[in-house]
Amino acid sequence: MGNAPISVLLANLPDIYLTGISNLLLNVEHSPFRIVGSTSLDNVMERVRELRPHLLLVGLPRKGVDVEGMIIERAEKAMVGIRKQFREVVIAVFAIPGVEEYQEALAITKKAEVEDVLSLEMGGAELACCLRQLFEQRTEVYKQCLRDLPIGDGKGYESFAEEVLPLLFKPHFSRFRSQVRRGSGDRLDFVCRNEGQHSFCKTILRAHGARYVVFETKNEAMPKVAHLRQLAAFLTPATTGRFGILLVRQPPRQLQTLFKRLGDLLRDDKKMIIVLYDDDVLEMLDMRMRLLEPMSHLEERYDYYMMHM
């Protein structure tokens, strides 16, 4: 079993079910789950924004509680909102099979593109298996999405990165922000905070003062010197720190030339840029799916660059 857990946020569940689901998920053999919190419907959007869980499990009310349908309406609205803003979060709803609520839950799944309706009558192992499958399916979707994404579609590549980067690097990199404008007029594709716990996070903090990590995405076949120069200029010790990652689709034909250019550009400033290609992203998604830590891949790439630059 790997060491990168699947984070779960629970919403709108009565105490009995909240306690039951939490304990079953945590106590299943070799549990891959981490319960990051529980919330009411009122705060679910804020909690998702703050915690960016992999899975959001929402309880739907029974008719006796929700006499005027207000709660179900709020639940639906919240899930539609979350689906729009946080496409990487897998949403599943809990309902009781065989009753009216279950039919209502099925209707919501279509409107909010909810991934699954789970039964409150499930056993612990069955529930864990279902959730694991939902997580794996989402990861597979991203792999296919990258394979299908044409080179040149800059917006599509940015959107892809916006969803995939938190999936790969949270919780070690957190608070992902996209299209960050700085006073200088620069616009950074993505910036996240380095939480400094993983060995690689410690390395880049020590060697490059990387309190933040800057990502630039270029949906182009190969990295160009202009890309490297632009990202290098964004890395400043007083703000982001000196570590950045460039995402492009394929490696250059001459890797040695890339390393030489990077060396010339960065050596004197203690700056470091790693370039990641589709193969790296696919490999990391695969690792994440197997609950392994994609940060290890990043660490490997970093070591390789350090040796060859």
Binding site: T19, G98, V99, L120, M122
Partner: protein, 157 residues
Amino acid sequence: MHSEIRILLAGDQTISREGIQRILESESDMAIVGTVETSLEVIPQVRAKNPDVLVLDLKWHGDDEAMDDVIAQLRRDYPKIAIVCLTVYEHLIPRAKAAGATCAATKDISKNEVLGLVRAAYASVSPDVGPGELEKARSALEHLHSLEKGNMMISLP
């Protein structure tokens, strides 16, 4: 009150059984003496464990009436055991009371209400509880329930 309330927990739904068990066993005055997952085992386990309180689910494997006879028999043969029924389905609550359950509620009641319900039910049957204790337990639970929002249904001892 008695130092420890001995509770037998019976229900066919793993998630709610696990949740109720964790809620109850976190209290220092409560002890789970057993759990029952099949309806046929309820009465034999009551006989074997002799609990103070039986916390019982009402609908088993889709059968609304599954516990009617069980509750009636327990009430007849074990009048000193408090029977607390928890269910998803409101319409089963009057039915459980009619069969002889001490109290009943829907499963969307709060953790504190679950605990209050078990304590009040225990107080209603325990010889160790003084005459004022039941009223105190009931009042506390009624007050708590009045503070909760929503339409959770609760039927007191």
